[in-house]
Structures are given as structure tokens and as C-alpha cells.
């Protein structure tokens, strides 16, 4: 299950999707919006995606999670638009017969997502806004 959407993300839904009677472990990562960055108060975030390409890159991650990291099933959900403090920006759930693979595949998925998937985060402060990681 790969989704990019404006609505709130459901961990339960992701876990349900990856649950199979043959799987004994499900690892989940939820990336939430923090209230500060480098000591500055963040009001909220805004995420923009290049949807068609982002979906393709997410599918590549899902395939590699299964083929190289032993994931049995994987769900990756990413929020776009305005996301409030504390809300989930990303949810990843990975099932596997044994737990080690679920941890490794989930870690691979979030690390790779942050490097390759065309989604951009803007931090909104009281006195301005910044596209995260844009500048050296």
C-alpha cells in the first residue's frame, strides 16, 4: 500500500494492511511534526510532492524492502499539504515472519524515502518560512 494524501494518516490501517497469519513481527515508523527545529518554534509544516514520481520512487522502495530486506508486506503513507505539530507526516509498516527483517526493512524504507522521494517540507515559523535542507 503506497499512498500520498492530504488526509490524516492511520497507523492502524497500515498495520492492518501488512498483517498476515504467517508473519510474527510488524515494525512501524511514524514520523511526526516536531514543535521546534534548531531552537526555533515551528507553527506547522507544509509538504509538497511531485505525486507521479513520488509514487514510483515509493514503489521502488517497497520492492527493495521485500526483495533485499525480507519484508513480507509493506505500507508507506505520506501526508501532503498542511500538517500540524504532533501529526504524522509519514507512516511505514513492515511485516515479516521474523522480527529482525521487519526492523531492517522499515529502517531502510524511511532512510531511503528521505533521500530519494520527491517530497518537500516547508517549515512555517512565526517570522518566516524555510524549505528544509534546500541549502548547504
Amino acid at each position: 500500500m503506497i499512498q500520498i494524501k492530504e488526509e490524516q494518516l492511520s497507523v492502524e490501517e497500515a498495520i492492518k494492511y501488512v498483517s498476515y497469519p504467517a508473519c510474527g513481527g510488524i515494525n512501524t515508523f511514524v514520523g511526526t511534526v516536531r514543535n521546534s527545529t534548531k531552537g526555533r518554534n515551528v507553527l506547522h509544516l507544509e509538504f509538497e510532492a511531485y505525486p507521479a514520481m513520488a509514487i514510483l520512487e515509493l514503489k521502488k522502495i517497497a520492492e527493495r524492502a521485500k526483495n533485499e530486506f525480507g519484508a513480507f508486506e509493506i505500507a508507506i503513507l505520506h501526508r501532503i499539504g498542511k500538517v500540524e505539530i504532533g501529526e504524522a507526516a509519514v507512516v511505514i509498516a513492515v511485516s515479516s515472519p521474523h522480527r529482525e527483517a521487519s526492523f531492517a526493512a522499515c529502517k531502510f524504507a524511511i532512510d531511503t524515502l528521505k533521500n530519494t522521494v520527491p517530497i518537500w517540507k516547508k517549515e512555517i515559523f512565526e517570522d518566516g518560512e524555510v524549505w528544509v535542507s534546500a541549502h548547504p
Binding site: Y50, T116, K121
Partner: protein, 79 residues
């Protein structure tokens, strides 16, 4: 060749609204990169800038063809 380029995040702030139409000299990704940085020097200040052609990250040597979907990809920051 007239090219329509999709812009996202900070590249939209630097260049303007998306898609951005541009008359391109040469036909490789490298040509496009050079043109854009000449015209919009602020792009050179970004940590990185990749070019995607038809939803795939493209090598510098790739030849862009009429009708290809071309996009500028500033440093991603999802998750």
C-alpha cells in the same frame, strides 16, 4: 526545442510558477542544467539540484525529447 519544466519547492520560489516554459539550446540534461543556472544563479546556491525526465532521475548525458516530462528536483525533505 520549447520545454515545459515542472517546478517544486524552492525551485518554484526561485524561477516562478510551474510549469515553466523555456527555449532550450542543445538537448541533454547537462545543457538544460547549464542554461537554468545561467538564467537563475540562485539555483547554484542549492545543496543539489537533480533533473527528472519522465519520472526518473536522469543522468547528465540523457537526451531530452519533445514531449518528455521534465522536472527540477531540489533537495528532497520528505518523511
Amino acid at each position: 526545442m520549447e520545454l515545459k519544466i515542472l517546478l517544486f519547492g524552492i525551485t518554484k520560489d526561485i524561477i516562478g510558477s510551474s510549469p515553466h516554459t523555456l527555449n532550450m539550446d542543445g538537448n541533454t540534461v547537462a545543457n538544460l542544467r547549464r542554461m537554468l543556472i545561467e538564467k537563475y544563479p540562485k539555483l547554484a546556491g542549492l545543496k543539489s539540484i537533480l533533473i527528472a525526465v519522465n519520472n526518473e532521475y536522469a543522468d547528465e548525458e540523457l537526451v531530452i525529447k519533445e514531449g518528455d516530462e521534465v522536472a527540477l528536483i531540489p533537495p528532497v525533505s520528505g518523511g
